[in-house]
Symmetry: C2
Subunit: 389 residues, 2 copies
């Protein structure tokens, strides 16, 4: 009976890690205890809440300094960042883009906005992200490179990009994806929406792809209300990103000329002001989140029927969402565990429903997705707010 | 020499209307003198800056109450509102949508986002907006209704919607557009991005279209930093608008199921908080803007070579941007007037470059656009901020 999941014991162990609370404990809530109010008040006092103002530049610079990426372009949310990343690497109508089936819907939607189609990839148990080995196996069997361009022989469509997502802040096996991108001539985009603060072999995530996307939604490690950013080390792409996200207007003192179909994706100054204050707190947030994860790890070590997901050796994770993985024989109890946790005032949730199961993506090409399907039944995210440590 | 434009006299007359200022006077800047601080601080203090929080509902309710539209759905900006409006009336890839050539690029871009094509329409000198008569004339010659659907015989494409824009807050001839929409079986969308506060025959703009779009960008009569809204009197469309703008997620306590390709277009709570405070000030803003316009009207009455644009009898305008129209024989001096005004510290700008002249819309169908072309050479917007009265 050693391997049998004891749900009551699990609830008790989690409760022991967390502070006493008469209110339900959120999965992830923001914390504002720095200069948020001072900076936002400054925006209101000067009247610079919108597109004019200095906080957007300052926020972009602090993102660039923190991540080490040469350029950061602030945008209205992570979905907008993903959309622009895809356009920047040249994704066009009718193309396919390789993405994990285990991801938030924004990853796949951004591909739809380009008129392209997601090619759903399986997961890697070791990273919770897309499996480079499974993608390679699929491409070996079904794709070919002609004239430096990768084609899916099954559908006849061009495969235009590779877009792994760093799940819950835990990065994919980036070295393997760099090799894969090189082998199959595929531009690499990192969906780093969840991984601000996470580095891989000492380099911040978002620096490995040609372009990368961050998110500062209300549930992320830092928040701007709604917001996101594009990271890149390529100056020309950075300029084009700024241009595309600001209606592609050609600079002029009064004339309105736009040289591309552009987007109204710029981040308002008032949201950037919040971001500047949050970035000042990020090192402390990161430390607190890692402390919380360490306490969960210890507390859940000998609970039968599950394991707590721990970063790999080459990773320094932001532990955005703490994750427990139910063993094979406990997976059938996932919804029961979720009910019990939520009823006990501990907000918990499963992974997203796999993208290939959504009717909107019923026609999308895919590979064997058995690992993703097992992970979907196994994953439970538990309370992860900075404030809990 | 009576009709010759005297630019120095024009500058002096405008200056006489405006307060003394050592700084250049902006075209349109926001004003925050109400509850902006209190509401935004409340967001930060409660941690509810993002998608959770009460200000979004409150802002939507105040928009609904003020405009008289049954439903208002707050979104991230006016461009997003236009995009969703087009989807709501069923615009699809390959369709055409009738829009004015004289408009901001967002109107036409939103059509591109749907994979549809703008059909550029001429302007009406009396309204500065799209000409219902010219559209009717074009449709009589080139379109036909088959099975309740309007087709462009020249291109073979379906014409899927009619989307006039209320230029600088001055509404189009709405009665004529309602008749046109009925005659040609075209859903009417109002691009009311510039017309919050403007009514037509006693009814607020945005109530005549099946759906309508508002904008609260930093240069608008009220601002949320960046923001917009969809107005509708149709409950089913309102529900679908909320669904499409919130990633089309099917409500569930933890499961993430999305039943359409959705968008991350919701307005963050912190921006909505700003909007709630600004809505409280709107009646005063409107009064001040109408006072400023009345003073301009008086001051520019007898300046040769131009006229100040005044609302028609059936209109109560927000006078978002005050507009002077150069006479035929003065139009060649437009850029000279703009230079002189800007050098004198009075920020002024021309109308947008006409959409059909932008290379990105070079292939778009169009009708005779002679009135729009004359207006483009004739229009100059002059300082219009609330604070100037």
């Amino acid at each position: 009976m050693n391997n049998t999941l004891d749900i009551d014991a699990l609830v008790a162990r989690i409760k022991a890690v967390l502070p006493e609370s008469s209110e339900p404990i959120a999965l992830h809530e923001p914390r504002f205890q720095g200069n948020e109010w001072a900076y936002v008040k400054n925006c209101i006092d000067t009247g610079w809440v919108s597109t004019v103002g200095t906080y957007v530049n300052r926020f972009e610079q602090s993102l660039s300094e923190y991540t080490g990426a040469k350029h950061a372009i602030a945008v209205v949310n992570g979905t907008a960042a993903l959309h622009i990343c895809l356009l920047l690497v040249g994704v066009e109508r009718g193309d396919e883009v390789v993405v994990p089936s285990l991801t938030f819907v924004a990853t796949a939607n951004a591909i739809s906005y380009c008129g392209a189609v997601p090619l759903f990839a399986d997961s890697d148990k070791a990273t919770l992200g897309m499996s480079a080995a499974k993608v390679d196996e699929f491409l070996v069997n079904h794709a070919e490179v002609r004239g430096g361009v990768c084609f899916n022989r099954q559908t006849g469509r061009r495969i235009a990009a590779l877009m792994p997502m760093h799940t819950f802040g835990q990065p994919v096996d980036i070295d393997a994806f760099l090799a894969l991108a090189d082998k199959w001539k595929l531009p690499l985009i990192e969906d780093a929406a969840e991984s601000l603060g996470t580095s891989y072999r000492g380099v911040h995530t978002g620096n490995f792809g040609i372009v990368s996307a961050l998110s500062f939604n209300g549930n992320k490690i830092i928040t701007t209300g709604g917001g996101g950013a594009i990271l890149t080390n390529n100056e020309a792409l950075a300029k084009r990103a700024k241009h595309l996200t600001t209606t592609a207007r050609v600079p002029h003192k009064w004339s309105f000329v736009h040289d591309e179909v552009g987007y109204n994706y710029r981040l308002p100054n008032i949201n950037a002001a919040l971001g500047c204050a949050q970035m000042e707190l990020l090192p402390e947030f990161l430390e607190r989140k890692r402390q919380l994860a360490a306490r969960y790890e210890k507390a859940l070590k000998d609970v039968a029927g599950l394991r707590f997901f721990v970063e790999r050796d080459e990773v320094h994770s932001n532990y955005w969402l703490n994750t427990i993985l139910l063993d094979q024989q406990s997976m059938d109890h996932r919804d029961h565990v979720l009910e019990k946790l939520n009823i006990s005032g501990l907000m918990a949730r499963p992974a997203w429903v796999l993208m290939h199961k959504l009717p909107i993506f019923a026609e999308a090409p895919r590979m064997d997705l058995s690992v993703a399907e097992a992970l979907e039944k196994s994953i439970i995210n538990i309370p992860s707010s900075v404030i809990l440590s």
